[in-house]
Homo-oligomer: 407 residues x 4
Amino acid sequence: MDFAFDARTEQLREQLLEFMDSHIYPAEPVFQQQIAERSDPWTAPPIVEELKAEARKRGLWNFFLPGEHGAGLTNLQYAPLAEITGRSPHLAPVALNCAAPDTGNMEVLAMFGNEAQRKQWLRPLLDGEIRSAFAMTEPEVASSDARNIATSIRREGDQYVINGRKWYISGAMSPDCAIFIVMGKTDPEAEPHRQQSMILVPRETPGLTVERGMHVFGYTDGDHGGHAEVRFEDVRVPVDNLLAEEGSGFAIAQARLGPGRIHHCMRAIGMAERAVAALCRRTLTRETFGKPIAEAGVVQDWIAESRVRIEQLRLLVLKTAWLMDTVGNRGAHTEIQAIKIATPRDVEWILDKAIQAHGAGGVSQDFPLAELWAAARMLRLADGPDEVHKRSLAHRELKKYRAEAAR
Amino acid sequence: MDFAFDARTEQLREQLLEFMDSHIYPAEPVFQQQIAERSDPWTAPPIVEELKAEARKRGLWNFFLPGEHGAGLTNLQYAPLAEITGRSPHLAPVALNCAAPDTGNMEVLAMFGNEAQRKQWLRPLLDGEIRSAFAMTEPEVASSDARNIATSIRREGDQYVINGRKWYISGAMSPDCAIFIVMGKTDPEAEPHRQQSMILVPRETPGLTVERGMHVFGYTDGDHGGHAEVRFEDVRVPVDNLLAEEGSGFAIAQARLGPGRIHHCMRAIGMAERAVAALCRRTLTRETFGKPIAEAGVVQDWIAESRVRIEQLRLLVLKTAWLMDTVGNRGAHTEIQAIKIATPRDVEWILDKAIQAHGAGGVSQDFPLAELWAAARMLRLADGPDEVHKRSLAHRELKKYRAEAAR
Amino acid sequence: MDFAFDARTEQLREQLLEFMDSHIYPAEPVFQQQIAERSDPWTAPPIVEELKAEARKRGLWNFFLPGEHGAGLTNLQYAPLAEITGRSPHLAPVALNCAAPDTGNMEVLAMFGNEAQRKQWLRPLLDGEIRSAFAMTEPEVASSDARNIATSIRREGDQYVINGRKWYISGAMSPDCAIFIVMGKTDPEAEPHRQQSMILVPRETPGLTVERGMHVFGYTDGDHGGHAEVRFEDVRVPVDNLLAEEGSGFAIAQARLGPGRIHHCMRAIGMAERAVAALCRRTLTRETFGKPIAEAGVVQDWIAESRVRIEQLRLLVLKTAWLMDTVGNRGAHTEIQAIKIATPRDVEWILDKAIQAHGAGGVSQDFPLAELWAAARMLRLADGPDEVHKRSLAHRELKKYRAEAAR
Amino acid sequence: MDFAFDARTEQLREQLLEFMDSHIYPAEPVFQQQIAERSDPWTAPPIVEELKAEARKRGLWNFFLPGEHGAGLTNLQYAPLAEITGRSPHLAPVALNCAAPDTGNMEVLAMFGNEAQRKQWLRPLLDGEIRSAFAMTEPEVASSDARNIATSIRREGDQYVINGRKWYISGAMSPDCAIFIVMGKTDPEAEPHRQQSMILVPRETPGLTVERGMHVFGYTDGDHGGHAEVRFEDVRVPVDNLLAEEGSGFAIAQARLGPGRIHHCMRAIGMAERAVAALCRRTLTRETFGKPIAEAGVVQDWIAESRVRIEQLRLLVLKTAWLMDTVGNRGAHTEIQAIKIATPRDVEWILDKAIQAHGAGGVSQDFPLAELWAAARMLRLADGPDEVHKRSLAHRELKKYRAEAAR
C-alpha cells in the first residue's frame, strides 16, 4: 500500500497546475465578459478555443481516455488531474478535451464503435472539432430504472425509425453538437436488460428537433450547449448506425456510466477545494462584531469539516480508480456507487457553507459558488438518484449474509 | 390555551382558499406564458394586475398591515393567510398587495413617516399603484452586522447628500419601483446604534443609478423587479425626506425586520406545503422497480419528516405572532429569531426532497420547486445569516445563568 | 388561538415548581446516596416514599389521570406539569404518582377494568401502595408489529392458561410490583387486530417467573423496578381476570399508547430543559484557551439550536394534548406520532451536546446527563421504533392524494 | 499509488482472522459467563489469560509496537490488524497484548524511558504480566487544554512530591495495574508548553489512593480495570522516576497521543464492521408487516450509508498510518486529527442504526451493540473533544491563506 502518486502523475500534475495558473484562472474573467456579450446563448465564447489550442500544444489533451486513442493514462493517473480541472469546471475540462458528455461518448465509440463509426465521429471528437450528445433520460418516465426508457427504435428494412422524447440532453443546444447517441427500445418483448439499443443519430437528420434548453436551478449552462429537450419523430438512420448489436444498450450504458461517474466525482472534489479556498479567503478578510469572520467558531467548524470530508472523498475516489484499473469496472461496482453517493452530497454541503460565508454574494453571479452548487446538486440526480444507488449497494451488502440467514 | 383559529381568521381563510382555487392556481400557467413572451425582463406580466383588481374587489387586500391603514388584522390572524399565499409565492402575495419589500416599507412609513411622507408614498403603496425598495445591504461589508453599513448621508444645508453602493435591493429593477428607503450613516462618531439613519429617495433623483440585477442561484426574480445593485453618487434630497430623526436608522431597521421575518416564514411554510403535495403526487404516479415510488421506504420517510417539521414550524410561527400581538415585537425577540433560524432550513430540506423525487424535472423550469428552493435558501442569508441569529439567541439564553455563574 | 396557560394550570405549575425547589432537587443527592448504599438493587430508596407522602399532602397527586378517578385535569393542563417533573425524572414523576408504567396501567383499568378489577388493583395503584407492569414486548419477535406478539392465552374451563416470554417489562423487578397486565393471543385464527387479549396476572401466580433485569446502555433502572425478562409457563388465572373481552387486546394497547406517548414526550422536554441549563452552567464556569467555553461559537450554536428545538417540541406536544382533549386520541393520531418521532431524537441531540460540554463528566455517574440520554435513546425504540411511526404517518399523508392520483 | 496490502500484512491478516474464528469469537460467551460469575468486579476473567497464551504462542503479539521492542510492524501494517481486533474489542486487543492504555504506555517507556525504567516496567508490560495506567485527565479542569492540568509535581531533595486528583484513569481499578504514568506541573512559571512533566508512580506508593470506578453510560469496563478516580496526596517517588526531563510532559503526551488515536480509530472501524454484520443478520431474520425488515427502504439506506462511511474511514486511517510511517507523526498531524474527528462519530452513527434495528435487544446486555456504542461515544471525548480538534485543524487550514489575506 502506497499513497504517493507515481512519477508520471506528479509530472502531469505539475504541468497542469502551471497551466491553470498561467491560462485558466486568468481566462475566467474574460470568459464571463464574453458570455455577457455573446449573441448566441448556446455557444462557447471564443476564449475556449484559444485555451484548447494552448492545452493541446502543451500535451494536456484527452487525458480521460485510456488505451491507444487517448493519452494512455490509467484511471488512477487521470483522477488527480481531473480533480484539478474541477477547480475551474467551465474552462479547464473543455480546454483539455476532457469535458462531459463528450468523454463518455468517446469511450463508447472507442469501445463499441466499428471502424467506420470511429473514423466518422471519434476522430473529430478526439480532435475537439465537434461535440456530441448522449440521449438517454426521458421526461415521461423515471429513467433511474433504465428499463423504463420508452423511446422506440424500430427496424424498417435498412433503416431504424426512432420515435420518442428526451430531455436534459447535455450539450445538444450547441450548434457544434454534431452527433447524438440515442438509447431506445428495439425489442420490448426481450428480457428486461436486452430490450434497449444505442444508435448514432447525426444532428441534421430529419425528424430530430432540439426544442428548448432545460434549466438547472435557473442556470442554462449555455456555454456547454445547455441541456436540451429533444423530440424524435420518425427519425430514420441507416442500420449501420447501430452501436454494437441490438439489445446491447443497457450494457453500453453501464460501461459508459462507470468512468462517467468517477470523472464527475473527481471534478466535484476540485470544486470543493475551490470552495474551501474561497471560504478561507472571504472569512479572513471580512469582519463582524469586531473580528474577522474566520475567527468565529462555527466557521472554523465548517472549514475543518470540509477538509476532513474532502480527504475522505478523494481517497475513496482514488481507491475506486485503482480498482477500475486492477479488477475492472464491474469489480469496482460497489466503490463506484459509493463515490456517487458520497461525493455530490458532501461537495454540496461544502459549497453551501462557502456560499453562506459570502452572504448575498454567495448566491450571486459575482462568485462561482452558486453555479457550482447547482452542478453538485444536479449530480445527486444525474445517472440515477442517490437513493437508487444506495438501494443497490445495500442489496449487495445483504447478499453476503443471505445464505447464512436462510439456514 | 387554544389552538383553534378565531372566527374572522376562519372566514378569511375560506375566502382566500376559494380565491386560490378560482384565480391564483389557474393563473400560474398564464403567468409563465406571459413571462416567456414579455420583452422587459423586469416587469410583472399583465395577469398580475388582473389578479390584484380581483383580490381587492373581494376584500383580500393589505392583510399584512395592522391598524387603521391596513386590514386591521393581528399578526396571529394574518399568519395563516400569509401561509396560504406562500403556496403560490409569485402570484398570491402580490395579488393581495402583501408582497415584500413593499409590506415592510409600508410598515415603516405607517410607523415612522410623517403625514406628508405617508400621503406621498404610503397611499399609492396601499393602493398597489407603485412599488418600493429598501436599500440596506452593501456589497463591500458584512451587512449582517448593521454597524458595518458604510453609505454616507451627509447634511448640507437643507439637503442630505448620499454616497454609497447597495446591492440585492429587491424590486428596484422594476420601473414601477418609485421610492427607495435608504439606510446610511449620518454620524460616524455617534455610538454604534445611533450612527445610522433612513431616508426617502425617489427613483428619479439624479445620482441614483440602478446598475444591474443580481441573481439568486441563476434566478433574476424579474417579475418582482429583481434584486438590484444601486449606486448613489452625490444624490441630494430635501431634509424633509428623512424618516423620523437622525440616528434612528438602526431602530427603524429593527422595527421593520420583526414583521418582515415572520411574513417570510409564514409564506415559506406555504411553500413547504406545496412541496409536500408535489412530493406525494409525483411519487404516487411514477414507478421504479415495479411499484410506485411512493412505496419506497425512504420516500415515506421524507414525507413523514416533512409533515412533522411543517407542524412544528407552523406552531412556532403562530406562537411568535401571538407574542408579537400580546407583548410586542421586542418581547417576541427570541421567538422571531427562532423562526428565522428554523424555518428556512427546514423548508429548504423539504423542497430538496421534493426536487429529488421529481428527478431532473425537479431542477427544471417545468416545476416550481427549484425556484422555490432558491428562495428558501436565500432566506438563510436575508436579514442576517442564521449564524448571527443563533449567536444572539445563545447570548440571551446564557444571560439567564450569568449572574449565578459569577458567584 | 391563545398560547397562555389557563388559571388552574398556572396555579399548579407554581405549586409544582415550588415543590421541585423545596423537595425534589434537594432530594437528588440523598437519592444517589441511598442508591449507593441499598442492599436490594431493585427497590426504590426510602426518600421516594417520603416525597410521595409530601406531594400527596400538597395535592400534587395523580395529575395524569383525567376523569373521576384522578385529578381531573385535561391533557393540556397536565402537559406542562409533566414537563416540569421531567427535569428530575427519577424522583418527580414517582413522587406525584405519575410514573410509567403505572400511569398507563391505571388508565387501562379505569377505562377497561370492571368494578372488581378496579377495586382490587386500581385503588391501591391510585394510592401509590403497589406498582404494576405491562407485559407486551417479546424477545423473539419484532413487537413493533403488534400482530407478531406470540404469547398464548388459552381458555380451559374457568381459567386462562398463559404461556410465553416477555422482556423489557418495566418495573417488574421490584417486589412492589403486584400485578401484570399481559398481552397475548386468545385466537390465532381471528382477523389480525382481533387475535390479542389483555389479562391480569398477579405477581404471585404460579408459573410466572421474573428471570432477570434487562439493561439500557448499562443502566438497570433498578430504583424503578428495572426492566424484567419474564417467563409464563402454564400460568393459570380465573377467566374474570380478562380485561374487557377476548380480542380487544389490540384496541386496549392502542388506547393505552396515546397518553403514554404524550406523557413520555412531556417529561422528555423537561429533561431537555435540564440539559440546556447544565450546558449553560458548565460552559460559563470552565475555561479553555483563555476564555469560558460558553464563548466558543460552536457551543453557542448548540445552545441556540437546543432552545429552538425545545420550543418547537413543546408547542407540538401542547397542540397534541389539546387535540386529544377536543377531538379524542384517534383524531390526534398524526400528532401523537409526530411527537413520538420528533421528541426523543431532538432531546437525545440536546443531551448529547450537554454531555460533550461536560467532558468525561458528561458520561459519568456524577451528572445525570448520560442516564437521561439513555432514557431518551430508549424512547426512540419504546412503543415502536421511529421508523414504524414514520411509515404510518406517511401512509396517512399519501392517502390524501391517492384518489386524485388514481384518476 | 497502490491500495493492496503487502505480503506480510496479508499473511498476518490471515493468521489473525483464523485466530478470531477459532478462539476469540468462541470465547465471547465464555467471557460473558465468567463476568457474570466473578466476585471481583475489576479483574479480567480467566479466559483472557488463556487467550493471551494462545495468541503469543502463535506469534500474534505486540503488533502495535514498531522497532526492536515490539513486532516491528509499520503503522500501515498494523492498521488492518488492529481493525480486525476491534470486531471483538473486549477480547482480541488484550489477547494480542495490544490493548490501551498499555500500548501507549509501552510506547512512552520505549521512547522516553531510560534503561532502568524500561527494564523495570517495559519488560513485564511487553510480556503481558502487568498492566499500567496513564494519569492525565482531571475532574476539576477542562483537560482538553493540556495547560489546564493542575496536579503538582514538586521536587524535594531526591524526591518528587505529587499532589492532585485524576479521573477516568483507565485500567487503574485492576489489581494487575502496577504502574502509573502521571502528568503534572513541575514548573507553573515556565512557558505554557514546558510546565508539565511525566513521572512513574508504582501503585503501592503511599498517598496514592484509587477511589472509585467512573462509569461510561452505565458501563464500568470492569474487565479492563475500569476508569478510576485517583487521589495523590503527598505521594513521594525518587527523582529517577521522572520520564525524560522536567518540562517534557507536554511533548511526551503529544508523542503518545498520535499512535493512541490511530489505534482507537482502527479498532473503532472493526466495531463498525461488526455492527453492519449484526444489522444485516438481524434484519434478514426478523419480519414486520409481512416481510423481512431488511427489505425496508430505510434499513437499506442505513446499510448503504454504513458501507460508504466505513470505506471512507478506513482509507483515511490507512493513509494516516502511511503518513506516520513516511513523514512522521508531526507530518501527519492534520490527518491524525481528521481521523479522530471522523471516526468516532461515524462509528457511533452506524452502531446507533444497528441498535435501532435490534429493537429493545439493541440496548440490552444480550448484544454487544450498546456497550460498543458507549465506547464509540466516549471516543468523541477522549484525548480531547472533537470540537478542539476541529478548531486546531481549521487554524492550520486558514494559515495557508493568512499571508495572502494580509496583503
